[in-house]
């Protein structure tokens, strides 16, 4: 073996050893420069191959080249190992306390529970083919009482029961005036619900406030029946309070409907008026039935006020109902006090956000 070949073998051994010993990327780089850099011996040997005697050139060139390639591979391989080790070490140092709190969530808002309840009810009736109609909160005596067949002496007209702006103008005491306004605008068939704010001079307590919200319903067609009212309200009750609900109609009296009924829904909170632990149900007070709304067949006298727009009581008939949004929300969500709706305490609002 020539002296040169021996030297190549020696360099290779030395370099492989240095590469293997390099403990950091820097040391590896130092080794690379030392053995493969521009001024290193092995590359110089390769460059000098041309000057060797012809019979040595081929073998020396091949051997030196092999050595260089082997060292390149060794460096790459060692480099990969070191990079992995160093990354692992760095990642290890990046360790965090995963139990620290998260970044705060983006502010979460929410619709008021009354709005959620209103929308839920609206959606049930939209699905049943009802439009949503609205009307002014400040109304005339005519729309609020007279056109709804309320006798001139009915107690509801009194100043103890109605807020007045003037003799003929008041804060509507129910959403029913929109029945008349809608019938004036649209000939039958008419299927509407009327959500909105209403006012009565009731002192504020757990179940009363001088303002509250109602949803009125009105269906007028050639063949709408009391049975249709029952079926419609059954769908409503089941949608809002659960599929198992039953409703019952009780005779009652309202000036604007005849026959008039009070509608009860079977309690969703108990079985037969009692809870599993044998205590009396706090929702229905042990009665099994919960009063939820008033309803009836539209009184022919009411149609008399819009007769010219196609509402001839010999040809058409209809049902109407009215419910309190607060009452439905209190029942459904177990809210114990109506005042909470108007306190707007964020701790209350957040629960339903």
């Amino acid at each position: 073996m020539s002296e040169t070949l021996e030297r190549v073998a020696q360099i290779r051994t030395e370099a492989e050893d240095a590469i293997a010993r390099a403990a950091t990327s820097d040391e590896l780089e130092q080794a690379r420069i030392k053995y493969l850099g521009r001024k290193a011996e092995l590359p110089n040997l390769l460059r000098a191959v041309a000057q060797l005697p012809p019979d040595e050139r081929a073998q020396t060139g091949r051997t030196a080249n092999e050595a260089r390639q082997a060292l390149d591979r060794a460096i790459d391989s060692r480099h990969a190992d070191l990079a992995t080790n160093e990354l692992n070490r760095r990642l290890e140092q990046d360790r965090i306390d995963v139990t620290l709190p998260a970044d705060p969530l983006p502010n979460l808002g929410g619709l008021h529970l009354l709005t959620q309840t209103r929308r839920e009810i609206e959606e049930v009736f939209i699905g049943l083919g009802f439009d949503v109609a609205e009307g002014p909160e400040v109304e005339t005596v005519f729309y609020n009482f007279t056109a709804l067949n309320t006798p001139a002496t009915h107690p509801s007209r009194q100043k103890t029961d109605t807020f007045y702006i003037s003799d003929q103008v008041l804060l509507r005491t129910h959403t029913s005036p929109v029945q008349i306004r809608s019938m004036e605008l649209h000939p039958p068939p008419l299927y509407i619900i009327v959500p909105g704010r209403v006012y009565r001079p009731d002192p504020t307590d757990a179940t009363h406030a001088p303002q509250f919200h109602q949803i009125e319903g009105l269906a007028v067609d050639t063949d709408v029946t009391l049975g249709d009212l029952k079926g419609t309200l059954e769908v409503f009750a089941r949608s809002v309070f659960g599929e198992e609900r039953e409703i019952r109609l009780r005779p009652d009296f309202f000036p604007f409907t005849e026959p008039s009924v009070e509608v009860d829904v079977s309690c969703f909170n108990c079985t037969g008026g009692f809870l599993a632990d044998g205590s009396r149900c706090p929702v229905c007070k042990g009665d099994v039935w919960i009063e939820i709304l008033g309803a009836g067949m539209v009184d022919p006298n009411v149609f008399g006020f819009v007769r010219d727009n196609g509402y001839d009581s010999e040809r058409i008939q209809g049902f109407a109902f009215g419910m309190g949004v607060e009452r439905i929300a209190m029942l459904k969500y177990g809210v114990p006090d109506l005042r909470m709706f108007f306190d707007n305490d964020v701790r209350f609002l957040e629960q339903f956000g």
């Binding site: 620290l100 709190p101 970044d103 705060p104 983006p106 502010n107 808002g109 929410g110 619709l111 008021h112 009354l114 709005t115 609206e122 939209i126 009802f130 439009d131 949503v132 609205e134 002014p136 909160e137 400040v138 109304e139 006798p151 002496t153 009915h154 107690p155 807020f163 702006i165 103008v169 804060l171 068939p189 299927y191 704010r197 001088p210 303002q211 067609d221 050639t222 063949d223 709408v224 029946t225 009391l226 049975g227 249709d228 029952k230 079926g231 419609t232 059954e234 109609l249 009780r250 005779p251 009652d252 009296f253 005849e258 067949m297 009184d299 108007f342 306190d343 707007n344 305490d345 609002l349």
Partner: protein, 800 residues
């Protein structure tokens, strides 16, 4: 209306438990609100006793030690505190074990060292009256000591408390309820208590009645009684009145109340000797005329009210309250018993105007029927004779007579079915109506019917008859069906969808919806510096704070913010949507607009261990919320400096949409915030949501096929040029290729920019819908922008 079951049973006895009866009546329209147990309990322990001996208690002046025969082998020793107890009396005795009206159980007691085996009872201790002056002495000497007291007196009864609807004044009567019980249960109904009238018709000697206003007094009847002995009513009468919730007073007054409770017709008893001239006139009052009523007060009437006068002037207010001058008193011996029918609306008006609701006026105002007067006279006559020992003078004064002829109303089978959704057989309808005392005849299409006189006001149309049939046949039999709808379909209007979307957009930005009061008051307006704003005022507000309607949503939002801050909330982000009310001269109703408003107070996000001090909500936080709202509604907007009395003068703007002002945004004036005890910056806005146009359907634009070109541009302008103007100029200069331009940095440095200048860094995006832009095209627009800035605003583009 309280109806003691014991009294009801005198006329109708359904074989049902009290609960079942209440249930059945409720389900047929006569609603029982409550069932109360009235009287005493453990009735076996209440017996008749005879006082054998009554002696002074050795150690107590006011007590007596009595020996009472209660039918046992030995007389029972009972200590009694009543002054009137005496040997020989027949009395009511409660033995140990008896349960008193208040629920306490009687035991053996020792009073001042003497054993007492029970009590000798006073009226109030039996809940048959209010008398506690002395023990109840039973007048009947034939009673056997030890026999059950229950055989002598009604000691306990269930009382049904009804909620009677305003169309059924006939049910404000025990007999009226008995009729309903009969119709609802089928139990037999006894003949009415007035079926035998001891009196007769014809004039009454010495008494004349004139009715000047028959329109307001359809019928006036009167009977005269002599030899009246005023005194306490017998126990049975007191017991019934007490159970029905009326306080016994004296026999004549008690009779008027008893007859009213039984028949529904109020009566009034005059002391005939004090009716001046024996003549009564029913007439409208003169404006300002005074009457001294039973309660001793002088009431001033107006000329729409009706009074009853004698020769000396007014003696009572018709249908509302009797007068003091001719009131029955202990020495009265001659009584004129009046039963009249009044015009309901008129009585209603009078009672409310005078603030004088009585059991009588509450019945009259629902319109009683003329026939009821004679029902009441018949029963009253029986009782005057029986209870007061009175003699009826012959004759009955009757001005007006019976009511108008009752109508015949057709009940068509087809109508019953079409209104209810299910048929009711004709025979069943006839049966129901007869049970309600209708007259019924078969007719070709169904039935011809005539309601009884006491339903004259309530039953006037076919639909009223259908209701009667339906409620008694049972509403539970109705089918559950859905309307046929004939092409009607339901959906929200575009405006309704826009309102929902607006609320959802604010929720998405972390705001909670608040629901405030529509009411406001002078104080709120003063705090908002809006004291001069025109407002809608209530005639009858509940309080000064609720005397007007709100003209802004800001007040109720600040109330809510204040409450939340006061309870320690670190961040308040609230919005409200709803009507405000602006007076509209020339229109009957005020202008109602649907607004949305928001307030932001405190950190824009919650602080954390990584971000201990986030920025506080300020003008730009509110602007962000506003922009999120309007972007969701696809409503481009502009702000221009504005002013509201309640806003920080340097941080207030007017919101313009489509060139018109629709609201305001800003930071609250610190002194206004201080009115709500808020020290922090309050950022807020309010806008008229009805003024935001419903966006048209968005048509597709190609924004993906060709790339956009983005570049940044720094623009130097004088500080007094608003950023919006810079952007406006840039947009116009960059048109039509400039797609968007936004300010992303603001930089001030007098040394590099010059005094009074500001540099705005803009992010620009260019695009063409049909091609990829060439560099030269973009450069051309950039130069156009630069020259527009220079020409219009005296600005320049800084080297990039």
């Amino acid at each position: 209306m309280r109806v003691p079951l014991e009294w009801l049973h005198q006329y109708c006895r359904p074989e049902l438990s009290t609960d079942s009866l209440a249930q059945r009546l409720t389900m047929t329209g006569t609603k029982v609100e409550a069932i109360e147990r009235h009287g005493v309990g453990e009735l076996d322990n209440f017996v008749v006793g005879r006082v054998v001996k009554a002696e002074q208690h050795p150690d107590a002046d006011r007590l007596r030690v009595c020996l009472v025969d209660i039918g046992e082998s030995e007389p029972s020793q009972i200590v009694c505190g009543a002054p009137n107890v005496a040997a020989g009396q027949t009395v009511a005795v409660a033995k140990p074990g008896a349960v008193m009206p208040d629920g306490t159980k009687l035991g053996k007691a020792k009073l001042r060292g003497v054993v007492s085996n029970g009590m000798i009872l006073a009226e109030d201790e039996l809940a048959i009256g209010t008398d506690h002056e002395g023990i109840l002495v039973l007048e009947d000497d034939h009673l056997v000591p030890g026999s059950p007291l229950e055989n002598v007196l009604t000691l306990a009864t269930d009382v049904l408390e009804f909620e009677i609807t305003s169309n059924r004044p006939d049910c404000l009567a025990v007999y009226g309820i008995a009729r309903e019980a009969h119709a609802a249960t089928g139990a037999e109904l006894d003949a009415p208590p007035w079926s035998e009238d001891p009196g007769g018709g014809g004039p009454v000697e010495g008494v004349t009645i004139e009715v000047e206003d028959p329109d307001l007094c359809p019928r006036f009847t009167a009977r005269a009684f002599d030899d009246v002995k005023i005194g306490p009513s017998p126990p049975w009468l007191k017991a019934r009145l007490t159970a029905a919730g009326q306080r016994p007073i004296s026999n004549v007054v008690d009779i008027t109340n008893y007859v009213m409770l039984l028949t529904g017709q109020p009566l009034h008893a005059f002391d005939l000797d004090r009716v001046a001239g024996g003549a009564l006139t029913v007439r409208r009052a003169r404006q300002g005329e005074g009457v001294e009523t039973l309660d001793g007060q002088t009431r001033t009437l107006d000329d729409q009210m009706v009074l009853i006068a004698d020769a000396d002037g007014p003696t009572s207010i018709a249908g509302v309250m009797g007068g003091a001058r001719s009131e029955v008193e202990p020495g009265t011996t001659r009584v004129l018993m009046e039963a009249a029918t009044w015009d309901g609306p008129n009585i209603h008006r009078t009672a409310w105007a005078l603030g004088l609701q009585s059991e009588a006026s509450l019945r009259f105002e629902k319109q009683l029927q003329p026939e009821q007067t004679m029902d009441a006279q018949a029963v009253a006559t029986q009782l005057m004779v029986e209870v007061c020992g009175a003699t009826l003078n012959p004759g009955t004064i009757d001005v007006g007579g019976d009511g108008p002829r009752l109508p015949t109303i057709a009940l068509r089978d087809a109508h019953v079915e079409s209104l209810l959704g299910a048929p009711i057989p004709r025979e069943r309808s006839a049966e129901i109506l007869r049970s309600l005392e209708f007259e019924v005849w078969l007719a070709p299409e169904g039935l011809d019917t005539t309601p009884p006189y006491f339903r004259r006001g309530d039953i006037t149309r076919e639909v009223d008859v259908i209701e009667e049939v339906a409620r008694l046949d049972g509403l539970e039999k109705l089918p559950s069906t859905l309307p046929s709808r004939h092409g009607a379909y339901g959906r929200l209007t575009p405006r309704q969808r826009l309102r929902r979307r607006a609320a959802d957009a604010l929720v998405a930005q972390g705001l909670f919806e608040s629901v405030g009061w529509s009411f406001a008051g002078a104080e709120q307006l003063r705090r908002l510096r809006l004291a001069d704003a025109p407002v809608v005022e209530l005639e009858n507000p509940m309080s000064a704070e609720q005397a007007t309607l709100r003209v802004t949503l800001l007040g109720s939002l600040l109330d809510a913010a204040h409450r939340n801050l006061a309870q320690g909330a670190p961040i308040v982000r609230l919005f409200e949507a709803g009507a405000v009310f602006l007076p509209d001269r020339g229109e009957q109703l005020p202008h109602e607009t649907y607004r949305v408003a928001a307030v932001l107070i405190g950190d824009v996000r919650h602080p954390s261990w990584r971000d201990a001090d986030p920025p506080k909500a300020d003008f730009f936080a509110a602007k962000g919320a506003l922009e999120g709202l309007l972007r969701s509604l696809r409503a481009p907007y502009e702000l221009e400096p504005g002013a509201e009395p309640f806003l920080h003068p340097g941080r207030a703007a007017q919101i313009n949409v489509a060139g018109s002002p629709i609201g305001w945004i800003g930071e609250l004036h610190p002194l206004v915030a201080a009115e709500w005890n808020i020290e922090q910056t309050v950022a807020a806005f309010e806008l008229d949501l009805d003024a935001v146009p419903v966006p048209p359907t968005q048509a597709y634009r190609d924004v993906t096929t060709f790339p956009e070109v983005r570049e940044d541009l720094a623009v130097v302008v004088s500080e007094d040029v608003p950023a919006a103007r810079v952007l406006d100029t840039v947009r116009r200069g960059g048109a039509p290729l400039l797609h968007s331009a936004e300010v992303f940095d603001v930089y001030r440095n007098p040394e590099t920019l010059g005094e009074g200048n500001v540099s705005l860094a803009l992010r620009l995006s260019y695009r063409a819908p049909d091609r990829t832009l060439r560099d030269e095209e973009v450069a051309e627009r950039r130069e156009a922008i630069a020259s527009a800035l220079a020409e219009e605003l005296g600005g320049r583009v800084r080297a990039a």
